[in-house]
């Protein structure tokens, strides 16, 4: 089958860093999402557990990521996410789509979005919705 006409100009795969900050070990969600993103054709870099915000931002820069999925189930999202955002800003990284997943109360979701997080996904979010969100979010940025 050939449908080359509508293909985007670059054939570079979308690069996503799946990041697990904090000290908790709840990596079930992060690993499922990492695998679903990879199965959908993206390049996935999973940081592994217990990463500091500094380590995560370094990975994002080194891997030239288009998007980052931060997975937090420790309740420390209001400390860790602002820190990651601040470090990205300091490093002049402003073209990365930022998503957060985990046990995040509604009130905090609004605050995170106001800080610059594009999407927040709580338990029960369909995997496909997350994949689609990242795909369309990244391609919109590239236009």
């Amino acid at each position: 089958m050939s449908s080359a006409v509508a293909e985007p100009k670059t054939d570079r795969k979308i690069r996503v860093v799946v990041a697990k900050p904090g000290l908790d070990g709840h990596d079930r969600g992060a690993k499922i999402i990492a695998r679903a993103l990879r199965d959908s054709g993206m390049e996935v870099i999973y940081t592994g557990l217990h990463q500091t915000p500094e380590q995560i931002v370094e990975t994002v820069i080194q891997e030239d990521a288009d998007a980052i999925g931060v997975s937090i189930l420790s309740g420390a999202h209001m400390t860790l996410v602002p820190k990651i955002l601040e470090l990205l800003k300091e490093e002049g990284v402003d073209d990365v789509l930022i998503t957060v997943g985990g046990t995040i109360p509604n009130k905090d979701i609004d605050d995170l979005k106001a800080m610059g997080v594009s999407g927040v996904f709580t338990p029960g979010s369909p995997t496909e919705a997350i994949v689609e969100f990242i795909r369309s979010g990244v391609s919109r940025r590239e236009l």
Partner: protein, 549 residues
């Protein structure tokens, strides 16, 4: 007369036939994907069914560890609690005891679980978030203030630094005038499942295993009423394992601890009766019940036949149950009360010795007092209203339950064989075998949910607008308060004594002595958890996972 045939009647008939054919073809499975037949009968109780099923309280204990089960004594209602500082948690402990809870269970925060003090850079934002922060013996003293440690049994969920927290507890007992041989309770200490599933570690696998064996030895000598390891399937299941994987990996972890203790020269009948288990109660009712029954039978057989236990108490598997956190939904949270009740009932019908019921708001935050009360009341309703406690193992002999028990047992042995081929559990963990199996199962289950093959009410079916429930808010100022307390302890202690205790601990770590004694000495002079962990890390090194997904 011939039946009249109309197009409408033909269509109805063919629809009915199609539906019947579909029903015949549709596969019925447990949530773990185990195939369930349309009928179970006498033929499913083949072979030595009488011996395999047996009697409650008798080998192989399929029907329960005790003859009278809940007629003799109800299970211990033990709600896991811990958040913020030790003052808040102490208050929650008193609240729970005042409401009829019969044992305590302590949740520590992530820094404590990972061996970081509250003032460590890595602890920022995590102090008191998912449990209570304990840095020194001073914290432990406040945590158990007003609670008679000689009377209440306490469970502590901590693994990599378990030896240190046990030392703190022993010393608080001493302060209350309760000698260590009178303390009763459980400390989790199950480090293998940390590498497999919960992922809170401090050291590489081998030195961590040594520390576990040191604790088993210490408790066998000094704490006859204490359970030094709670061999835990709970976290394995939460990470996405099937029921069979939870069963197999947990039991195999248990056998590995038994082997280490025997190698140390401890008599199996001296420590095996003090080993206990901790299983998940997930939402597939009968599969869970079968899992507990299979666990008891396998443990009894292996302890007797492979490890040479002579005492029935060594063969008798006793377990704590917690309802499945992962089955709770953030959507329509009140539905979680129903899920938890059904899961708790499975634990009870499976013969649990103690039970934690989750609170309905826990997919959103740590539970509020009201939510915890409903969870505790759920247990009280099962215990005192439903009549399910009237006779032991009421499901024993059910064709279906016995058959499912046999199947899970066979699945577990298949995993034991694979793990043995890899060189045993420690080696299998190093090779990421259980981690990979669990990851596959978790991914497969998510796919079934996404595809609508597995229904989760309120998530992929019967979705409605959200109702808001009040959530527990943890004051970020608590972190500062804890850090200040730690600074105060550090300021008033004898720092030369701390230095010398740490030097002795390092020396012991480099040699072969039992580490519990130098840890107790260090704890006594107010050495912090983090200082002791760092000292041991200088000898043992640390652990980094190679993640698989």
């Amino acid at each position: 007369m011939e039946p009249t045939s109309t197009p409408a009647a033909d269509k109805a008939a063919s629809d009915a036939a199609r539906k019947a054919a579909e029903a015949a073809e549709k596969e019925f499975t447990t949530m773990s994907g185990k195939s369930i037949r349309a009928r179970y009968g006498q033929e499913d109780l083949q072979g030595d069914a009488d011996v395999k099923i047996g009697e409650p309280g008798r080998y192989p204990f399929t029907r329960g560890p005790y003859e009278s089960m809940y007629r003799g004594r109800n299970w211990t209602m033990r709600q896991f609690a811990g958040f913020g500082t030790v003052e808040e948690t102490n208050e929650r402990f008193h609240y729970l005891l005042d409401h009829g809870q019969t044992g305590l269970s302590t949740a520590f925060d992530m820094p404590t679980l990972m061996g970081y003090d509250s003032d460590h850079a890595r602890s920022l934002g995590e102090v008191g978030r998912e449990g209570v922060a304990v840095d020194t013996i001073d914290d432990m003293e406040i945590l158990f203030q007003g609670i008679p440690l000689g009377e209440v049994s306490t469970s502590m969920t901590i693994n990599a630094p378990a030896a240190i927290l046990l030392a703190f507890y022993v010393l608080v007992g001493e302060q209350q005038g309760v000698p260590s041989e009178k303390l009763s309770g459980t400390i989790q200490t199950d480090i293998l499942k940390e590498y497999i599933a919960q992922k809170e570690w401090c050291f590489p696998v081998e030195p961590a295993m040594r520390l576990v064996t040191d604790m088993v030895e210490y408790c066998t000598d000094q704490m006859p009423r204490w359970h030094p390891i709670s061999i835990s399937g709970y976290h394995i299941r939460e990470a996405g394992a099937t029921a069979a994987q939870e069963l197999a990996f947990t039991l195999k972890d248990g056998f590995t601890y038994v082997e280490r203790a025997i190698e140390r020269g401890i008599d199996v009948d001296a420590f095996a009766p003090r080993l206990s288990f901790f299983f998940n109660a997930h939402i597939d009712f009968f599969e869970e019940i079968a899992k507990y029954r299979a666990a008891r039978r396998i443990w009894a057989r292996e302890l007797k036949e492979t490890y040479g236990a002579k005492k029935p108490e060594s063969m008798r598997l006793r377990f704590h149950t917690q309802t499945a956190g992962v089955s709770l939904t953030a959507q329509q949270p009140l539905n979680n009360i129903v899920r938890t009740a059904i899961e708790a009932l499975a634990g009870v019908l499976g013969g649990t010795q103690s039970l934690h019921t989750n609170s309905f708001d826990e997919a959103l935050a740590l539970p509020t007092e009201e939510a915890v009360r409903v969870a505790l009341r759920t247990q009280q309703i099962i215990a005192e209203e439903t009549g399910v406690t009237n006779t032991p193992d009421p499901l024993g002999g059910s064709y279906f339950v016995e058959s499912l028990t046999d199947e899970l047992e066979a699945d577990a042995y298949e995993y034991f064989r694979k793990i043995d081929e890899l060189g045993g559990m420690v080696e299998a963990v190093r090779q990421n075998f259980p981690q990979r199996e669990i990851g596959e199962a978790a991914f497969d289950f998510q796919r079934r949910v996404d595809d609508g093959e597995f229904t989760i009410v309120g998530v992929n079916q019967y979705v409605t607008e959200e109702e808001e429930v009040p959530l527990l808010h943890i004051d970020p100022a608590l972190e500062t308060k804890q850090v200040e307390r730690l600074a105060a302890t550090k300021a008033k202690r004898d720092s030369a004594a701390v230095e010398s205790a740490l030097a002795s601990l390092k020396e012991a770590a480099a040699g072969e002595a039992n580490l519990m004694y130098p840890i107790l000495d260090a704890a006594r002079v107010h050495t912090t958890e983090g200082e002791m962990i760092e000292a041991m890390q200088e000898v043992f090194g640390t652990y980094t996972e190679t993640p698989v997904f």
